[in-house]
């Protein structure tokens, strides 16, 4: 569990993170979404005590991370795959980390195998591709078998197979009851991975809600609904605040409500549904619209 309260970081006149309040819960993958420069990395660094907040606070498992004597058993983190010394081998890098936290050395072999770097263990990190460095960073995050994991843009540099692997890994870690917090500037990346979203723009919180709810917030974001009693359904949904656009063949496009809410409303009013399809393709639109809005908003502020 990660809890940020009014978390703020200023660099001179620039406010990188502006009164962020959110909670990241265990057992699910939470996407940390925002355009470049939105303050995602600064927030992650503040969670890890690497950057001191100007005001507000953030705790991991109820404690300030910097107050812990050793970190790896509490939080595993991949902030930047380049945060390594190119002169060391992958095994030496991980062994030093493991030893510092009193983690048995055999864990190094285990995590290297888990990320597919067993064959490269003795090679110098300086010769690694970005994808291999990402895998090494993930291995380091897994070393302490921690209940909380943070990943900053972990997909960068991974090949398609690597992307699939890393998504599977995040799902697996969340299914084991861990807190998994993954940042990205690409909405499409989150679509297949995240359950929950924390969306930021210009350092401010835009949304903290389930992925599906967030998707429905986009204006024009639609759910295709087919019902034999399209007329009744249209009345019910309109009354609930949705815009219903009838299409051919008893199909209508509903905007302003989530698929889940539409399903519940139909059930409450005993309207049979034959189809209920969220137009997930517009998740990217939802993200772009909302973050663009925040940019304009802060622009007016000045």
């Amino acid at each position: 569990m990660i809890e940020a309260r009014e978390l703020t970081r200023r660099y001179g006149p620039v406010t990188a993170v502006d009164r962020l309040t959110f909670t990241v819960r265990p057992g699910q993958v939470t996407g940390f979404l925002g355009p470049n420069g939105a303050g995602k990395s600064t927030t992650l660094r503040m969670i890890l005590g690497l950057t001191t907040p100007t005001s507000g606070n953030v705790t991991v498992g109820g404690r300030r991370f910097r107050d812990l004597p050793r970190g790896l058993r509490h939080v595993g983190a991949l902030l930047d795959a380049h945060d390594v010394h190119g002169g060391r081998s992958a095994a030496a890098h991980l062994t030093a980390m493991a030893v510092s936290n009193g983690i048995p050395r055999r864990r190094v072999t285990e995590v290297l195998a888990e990320v597919g770097l067993a064959a490269a263990a003795r090679r110098r990190i300086g010769g690694f591709s970005l994808g291999m460095k990402q895998r090494l960073g993930i291995a380091a995050a897994l070393l302490g078998d921690p209940p909380v994991l943070l990943f900053d843009e972990p997909i960068n540099g991974l090949d398609p197979e690597g992307v699939l692997w890393v998504r599977g890994l995040f799902r697996k870690l969340a299914a084991q009851g861990r807190t998994v917090f993954v940042s990205s500037h690409l909405m499409s990346e989150m679509e297949n991975t995240a359950d929950e979203l924390v969306v930021v723009g210009r350092g401010r919180l835009i949304a903290a809600e389930p992925l599906a709810t967030f998707a429905a917030r986009a204006t024009g974001q639609a759910v295709a609904v087919r019902s034999p009693d399209a007329e009744t359904l249209a009345k019910v949904l309109t009354a609930a605040g949705a815009t219903v656009l009838p299409q051919r063949d008893r199909l209508c496009t509903v905007t302003g409500l989530t698929a889940a809410r539409i399903g519940d409303l139909a059930h409450d009013h005993r309207v049979p549904l034959h189809e209920l399809t969220p137009q997930t393709a517009s998740l990217e639109d939802a993200f772009l619209q909302l973050t663009a809005g925040s940019v304009e908003f802060t622009g007016d502020d000045r």
């Binding site: 057992g27 660094r45 890890l48 005590g49 690497l50 950057t51 001191t52 991370f65 910097r66 107050d67 812990l68 004597p69 050793r70 970190g71 790896l72 058993r73 509490h74 939080v75 983190a77 902030l79 930047d80 380049h82 945060d83 390594v84 010394h85 190119g86 002169g87 060391r88 081998s89 030496a92 890098h93 062994t95 030093a96 980390m97 030893v99 510092s100 936290n101 009193g102 380091a140 302490g144 078998d145 921690p146 209940p147 299914a175 084991q176 009851g177 861990r178």
Partner: protein, 280 residues
């Protein structure tokens, strides 16, 4: 969702400082540059001292004057300043490397995310740097003394380690290395940049003593006396051969020891404080 037993705080082993020392030890020796810097440094220093003794011996052999050999201070060859200026820079680099190597590469963020106790991290680095450079300094100083005096022995002017001032000179030369390693560490913590750190260290450790020369103003000489190089120079003096020009404001042996201790202590405090206070 399958619930698993996540490690509870109670199962986390007690944090041990020895574990941090082991980690820093692994970090230092898993870099080829560490071996290179120490090896090349030891070789360069020894070459200078041995060469000094050999050329003096050569001078004695070729001189017709039998008094020539008495004009030579055998102690001086074991402690040629240039050799120990190299030793100073090498030791300083080792200490500095352990810090700016992490800041320049970004590794420091990975390190501090693994060990949030910043003071413990830098303290462990300081201890490892001190131990490694002390051994390095002791090896160079003892070998220098041993080799040069063995060369002089052929002309019966070689000193034994029990000679007045000999042990003190070896000890001071050995300790000079960790003092400089800690100074390098403090500069690296402040500057965080490889070239900047080394240039600053060379200016402070080697050029400053040369800059504050002369006896016209007492404060200038006092600053000079407060430099590690000057203090070392005092400690490797051969007491059997008093200086011909002692100067108006000479440094005492006790003052020299205090100077070395003060530089080491101040540097360690600066390094720990700066790393603790300033975000990486």
């Amino acid at each position: 969702m399958t619930a698993i037993t996540l490690p509870a705080a109670a199962t986390v082993p007690k944090p041990r400082f020895a574990a941090l020392l082991a980690a820093e030890w692994i970090k230092l020796w898993s870099l080829r540059s560490s071996y290179g810097v120490l090896g090349a440094g030891a070789l360069a220093s020894l070459t200078i001292t041995v060469n000094s003794a050999r050329s003096n011996v050569d001078l004695i052999s070729r001189s017709g004057n039998p008094e020539q050999r008495l004009a030579i201070d055998p102690m001086h060859s074991a402690f040629v300043p240039e050799a120990y200026q190299i030793l100073m820079i090498i030791a300083c680099s080792v200490g500095a490397l352990m810090v700016f190597g992490e800041y320049a590469s970004g590794l420091i963020r990975t390190t501090l995310a693994a060990v949030p106790d910043r003071r413990a991290v830098i303290a462990a680095k300081a201890v490892v740097a001190t131990v490694v450079t002390l051994v390095f300094g002791a090896l160079v100083a003892a070998s220098s003394f041993g080799l040069t005096q063995a060369i002089y022995h052929r002309h019966h002017i070689g000193l034994s380690i029990s000679a007045p001032g000999a042990l003190r000179a070896v000890a001071a030369s050995a300790l000079l290395a960790p003092v400089c390693a800690l100074v390098g560490m403090a500069f690296a913590a402040l500057i965080r940049h490889a070239a900047g750190t080394i240039v600053t260290a060379v200016v402070v450790l080697l050029l400053a003593p040369a800059l504050f020369q002369g006896e016209t103003y007492r404060w200038v000489k006092e600053i000079c006396n407060a430099m590690p190089l000057t203090a070392w120079d005092k400690l490797v003096d051969n007491p059997a051969r008093p200086a011909r020009y002692p100067g108006k404001y000479p440094e005492t042996v006790t003052e020299a020891w205090i100077v070395l201790a003060a530089w080491a202590l101040t540097s360690a405090i600066v390094a720990v404080t700066v790393v603790h206070r300033r975000d990486p």
